[in-house]
């Protein structure tokens, strides 16, 4: 029998006798997949707005009404004091301040133009942006309504108007869960796979059992394969559990084929496990390997495109992203789940991952030395 079989037997037994690992593999995904998407709701709603209406005219009241009756905004203050409003922003009780000046209505009728002031808490850029956009949309809409009460619209517009119709594809309901759940699944797999594989060899180093291995005629690649395969199998199991939960709890069924996901996942796992093995061969103790895995994870995850868009990153960061396996898988997951992309469509990332897997694992075999 090939030594590989013996190694696999040993590894599997050790894994299943370790209660901590079992809990992590089976319980963690379940809990996280259920809780995380609940938290990951990026839809911008409940924007707190403080309105200063210095005009108190019919027009201004109508505008204020329109704003407050929209679903996006919550009125937290309606006073005439700017300092009070600012205080609300400082305390994070308000996100925007809208100030309607004293001659709002009068100026509109007389000069046909009037200015209103909007102050936005821009620390959270997304919220600020979108909040401002929504408010502007409401104001524009009100503006048109107002204009139409004064000028009757004619078949020939005096001023060219461009009408824009917008369509949202692939996620018509703008449901954030469908966007986040596949991404979170990717994160989960990555975390589990990287942690398991990066600690493993180092643990043997620390406990001394690795010497006993190095002194035998065992081949390096047998040893490393013996470490890779069990975790690869576990990874595939976790993906299955994850996809099952995504269906059960969120009703998410990929538009594309499950097979596509599995094929890509199979290659992806090789990359992640390979990285973990590589860390393992260089680290001297478990603390080091854990630290490096942790930091790598943080970088991979935050720059993976789940949280911020990769296109917006500066050029050099986009180059780093090319080395980030998480970014590839998140993108592929989304394409398959939301757009129904098939194997042909994801060829490019698949081949890149294959190359990546080969290089990383080859490097790991080279850097593992039985003799120091």
């Amino acid at each position: 029998m090939s030594p590989l079989i013996y190694i696999l037997q040993k590894e599997f037994k050790q894994i299943f006798r370790n209660p901590a690992i079992l809990k992590v593999i089976f319980i963690m995904p379940v809990i996280q997949l259920i809780l995380l998407p609940l938290a990951a709701d990026y839809e911008i709603k409940n924007i707190n707005i403080a309105i200063l209406d210095r005009d108190h005219s019919a027009t201004s009241s109508k505008l204020v009404n329109k704003i407050t009756s929209s679903n996006y905004f919550k009125l937290v203050s309606y006073g005439a004091n700017y300092d009070q409003a600012m205080e609300k922003i400082e305390n994070d009780k308000a996100d925007l301040i809208l100030e309607l000046p004293r001659n709002f209505e009068a100026d509109l009728y007389k000069h046909k133009e009037t200015k209103i002031l909007l102050a936005v808490n821009a620390i959270n850029g997304v919220k600020a942006n979108i909040g401002a956009v929504y408010l502007n949309t409401i104001i524009q809409s009100y503006n048109n309504e107002f204009r139409n009460t004064i000028i009757t619209p004619s078949r020939f517009n005096e001023i060219p108007l461009i009408e824009i119709s917008t369509a949202n594809w692939y996620n018509a309901k703008m449901n954030y869960k469908i966007f986040m759940v596949p991404g979170i699944l990717v994160l989960l797999i990555t975390m589990i796979a990287l942690n398991l594989s990066s600690i493993n060899i180092v643990r043997e180093k620390e406990l001394g059992t690795i010497e006993q291995i190095n002194v035998t005629p065992i081949k390096k690649y047998h040893f490393l394969l013996g470490k890779l395969i069990p975790f690869w199998i576990i990874g595939m199991i976790v993906i299955t559990i994850g996809l099952f939960i995504a269906w059960l709890v969120y009703g998410i069924i990929p538009l594309g084929a499950y097979v596509t996901i599995y094929v890509f996942a199979a290659v992806y796992l090789l990359v992640i496990l390979g990285i973990g093995l590589l860390i393992s061969t260089y680290a001297e103790n478990q603390q080091q390997s854990m630290l490096v895995s942790f930091f790598l994870l943080m970088i991979f995850i935050l720059m993976g495109g789940l949280y911020t868009s990769i296109d917006s990153m500066p050029q050099w960061a986009q180059w780093i992203t090319k080395l980030n396996p998480v970014a590839y898988f998140i993108e592929v997951m989304r394409r398959v789940v939301l757009k129904g992309s098939g194997l042909a469509d994801i060829q490019k990332p698949l081949y890149i991952m294959l190359l990546y897997a080969f290089i990383i694992n080859y490097w790991a075999v080279l850097s593992y030395k039985k003799r120091s």
């Binding site: 963690m28 005096e158 992309s341």
Partner: protein, 378 residues
């Protein structure tokens, strides 16, 4: 008299052990480099790379008109920093394929009668198709494009102005350039401190247990609590170094302001560090192997922090039960404090509530950790 002697003795022992722990840490060069260098690398990477600004969004334009006005519109879009025109064509067939391949985020369709309708009827229609897999992004890019189109409308209407216009003058507070770093740096600070303090402390203590050295220590005449707390102290100092580097980097390299009192910021950070250290000590009482300590740190510390600190996912959007849970996550309070002090320039009056919460947490965690240690050691 004897009591005083005993206390002096204890202090001396404590000091000795701290020195020993420092030696351990400094001898492990690789770990030290990682502990000090990684936070720096992260701040820089995240500060520059993570942004919610929309730039270079890939757009395809299907220009079925090719009239002078439509070309003007296309040029206007091309010159905008928000968009990068991936390609242009005259057919709509390819749009779906490009979306599937993920090469574009947005498509603009200019119908063939664009110029005619503008000239003849003073009306025209354009269609924007957005990839809504990321709803917020779709909303944002759609709006940016709409703004550009409206601008274009103003351009061709040079002589005529739209009457009865309400003009909105917008002022972005605290973060006029909408830099992502303002939001991220406080968050990364929390994560880094949590990582170094909680995880490293728990690992260090558990390592002794795992390698069998704990028994030797327990057999010595020194109060075991001293030994264990001595392990946490070096990480306290390392974290302070980390805070200094992070603040320096974010101020000078990322341009994130420090509008509030630096002393206050430090004081609060140390408070947070103490909370993290006690959490690390608590975790170390729960397990005997480093691997489990790490997993527990991940599940109990890292993930909840990521989820509930408010830096990645907005707390106000979460279902109420989760919002309540977020209150027990120390990082959430620290994140608020740092934002208030660093970026808004607030003082203690603004953050006293949050400081109180953190103080309470620290005391609580500390006492539970001590109690658990006492139980385990007896």
């Amino acid at each position: 008299m004897l009591e005083k002697r005993k206390d002096q003795n204890n202090m001396k022992q404590f000091y000795n052990f701290i020195i020993k722990e420092f030696y351990h840490i400094f001898r492990d060069r690789k770990t030290l480099i990682i502990l000090l260098g990684m936070p720096m690398a992260q701040i820089i990477i995240f500060g520059f790379a993570l942004t919610n600004e929309v730039k270079n969004a890939q757009i395809t334009i299907v220009n079925q008109s090719n009239s002078p006005n439509s070309i003007k519109l296309v040029q206007k879009i091309e010159s905008s920093k928000y968009f990068e025109v991936y390609n242009q064509s005259t057919k709509t067939d390819d749009i779906e394929r490009m979306f599937k391949k993920g090469t574009i985020k947005l498509a603009l369709v200019i119908p063939s009668d664009f110029d005619n309708t503008i000239i003849a009827q003073n009306k025209a229609q354009l269609q924007i198709i957005a990839d809504a897999t990321d709803p917020n992004l779709a909303t944002t890019v759609t709006n940016y494009l709409s703004i550009i189109i409206n601008d274009f409308q103003n351009d061709i209407n040079q002589n005529k102005t739209i009457p009865y216009k309400i003009v909105v003058e917008t002022r972005m507070l605290y973060n006029p350039q909408l830099k992502g770093a303002y939001n991220f740096v406080p968050g990364v600070m929390a994560m880094v401190l949590l990582l170094v303090c909680t995880m490293m402390t728990s690992l260090t203590v558990v390592k002794e247990k795992e390698l069998g050295n704990m028994e030797i220590l327990l057999a010595s005449p020194v109060n075991p609590l001293i030994i264990i707390f001595a392990k946490a102290v070096p990480y306290l100092l390392l974290s302070i170094v980390n805070i200094i580097t992070i603040l320096l980097l974010s101020y000078y390299v990322l341009g994130v302001p420090i509008n509030g009192s630096l002393t206050l910021l430090f004081a609060v950070s140390i408070l947070f560090i103490l909370v993290s250290l006690s959490l690390g000590l608590l975790i170390s009482t729960l397990t005997d192997t480093q691997q489990s300590a790490m997993f527990i740190s991940l599940i109990v510390m890292f993930l909840p922090t990521v989820m509930f600190s408010g830096f990645i996912f907005p707390i106000e959007n979460m279902p109420i039960p989760m919002q309540i849970i977020s209150n027990i996550i120390p990082a959430k309070w620290y994140y608020i404090i740092v934002k208030s002090v660093m970026i808004k320039g607030g003082g203690i009056t603004l953050i006293w509530k949050e400081v109180l919460v953190l103080t309470f947490m620290m005391t609580f965690l500390f006492s539970v950790a001590i109690k658990k240690f006492k139980i385990r050691l007896s």
